[in-house]
Amino acid sequence: MSQVTVLGAWPSPYVYRVIWALKLKGVDYEYVEEDVLHNKSDRLLKYNPVHKKVPVLVHAGKPIAESAVILEYIEETWPQNPLLPKDPHQRALARFWIKFGEDKSAALFGFFMTEGEQQEKATKEGQEQLRILEEQGLGEKMFFGGDEIGMADLEFGWLAWWLDVMSEIAGVKVIDAESFPRLHAWIQRFKDISAIKEPLPDRSAMLTYFKGRRATFLALAKS
């Protein structure tokens, strides 16, 4: 009986950050699927009354919500295979980029929620943020975490698998090897890590799922 439970919703990239962290540290967990779109369970509402969202990590009966908060908890509770550097200033940089990812998510996902002229504008905005990520976040490093994968890499993990699916459905090329060589190289490196690769959601199932999501977003925008 696992002491660790993850409440998640397929194929949420936020949930994957938590799954990846647990897998990288070799922590056993029980996964529970929540139907967040249509039927949130009493358990979810009890464990995350404030946001009513996934992921939620439950450890020895105690719930933690918000993926960034969960990752810090995982790091402190299971220190093996550390996901943050030791040096306080380097840690502050990692946390800066994680916050950057959270604050800029509307700009980064904008291309997927829009069409026509709005989409052109949204795509450009997203690419501006990705440029900052490419040049200042990643720079010459192998990973956002330095020589090894870290928490900031998990924050941007969605770029390595979800972005491609979303771009295909939205009909825009957001990044490619020529315009974002460093991010492109990082994506290949990141996906190569077995703890990352192994749980990745099935691509064709994702295509179906995200087609539906885009249709919903566009309909909402029109209403």
């Binding site: 450890h59 105690k62 933690i64 918000e66 908890y73 306080p88 200033h89 502050a92 946390r95 800066f96």
Partner: protein
């Protein structure tokens, strides 16, 4: 030699995020130099230290810049081991402190919606703010079943939530009451929050960090006027 251990805080007097960092420095007994930034005319130094966001607060320590107020808080606890902790020791309690500190910042953002809107939009913003304050109250009750007011000798819990409460709500409370006619922290709606903030406002180190009432009122009035003007423009 000059950069060694030197701490400089770049802030703006009315920023609750900068205020939180400043009182944290005071509470931890870390000597620092304060630089006031005019957000309408940002200094070249600020733009160099925080080129991506161009915001305050920025903490400079040993010549290196740390930005994002809650990131600065983590850095402070990790770097200065003397003085009271900002975050508790226990990992689960730490996770709750991180969650609620971040949530309080969210509530503050909802509050700025109240300041910058009128009519129906403001009513909606007020409703949302009070809904969030209610959730905050419930959360704090769960986290601190005996109430949070800490005596001076109590360091094990961590000061962060008190500092966020003080900087986001305590310093703004009176000004908001006068400018909006709304009791944001209502003793009937959120009694724990109210009693906590009242107690915090009496602590000398925090009291002296408060912004003068007339300044807050003048600032909130002009901030609101500017926002309403640009909304109708």
């Amino acid at each position: 030699m000059a950069a060694q251990n030197k701490v400089i805080l770049y802030g703006t007097w009315f920023s609750p995020y900068a205020k939180m960092v400043e009182v944290a420095l005071k509470v931890k007994g870390i000597p620092y130099e304060y630089v006031e930034e005019d957000l309408g005319n940002k200094s070249p130094m600020l733009l160099k230290l925080n080129p991506i966001h161009k915001k305050v607060p920025v903490l400079v320590h040993n010549g290196k810049a740390i930005v994002e107020s809650l990131v600065i808080i983590e850095y402070m606890d990790e770097t200065w081991k003397t003085g009271p902790r900002l975050l508790p020791e226990d990992p689960y309690k730490r996770s709750q402190f991180r969650f609620w500190a971040s949530y309080m910042h969210q509530v503050f953002e909802a509050l700025t919606e109240v300041v910058t809107t009128s009519g129906e939009a403001q009513e909606k913003a007020v409703k949302e703010t009070f809904e969030q304050l209610y959730l905050l109250e419930e959360g704090l009750k769960g986290l601190f079943p005996e109430g949070i007011v800490s005596s001076d000798g109590e360091f094990s819990n961590g000061k962060l939530l008190e500092l966020v409460m003080f900087s986001c709500f305590g310093t703004y409370e009176e000004g908001l009451q006068e400018v909006l006619g709304i009791d944001v922290i209502d003793p009937e709606k959120t009694p724990l929050l109210f009693s906590c903030i009242s107690a915090l406002m009496e602590i000398p180190a925090l009291k002296e960090s408060c912004n003068p009432h007339e300044n807050m009122v003048a600032f909130l009035k002009s901030y609101r006027e500017d926002a309403l003007k640009s909304a109708t423009a």
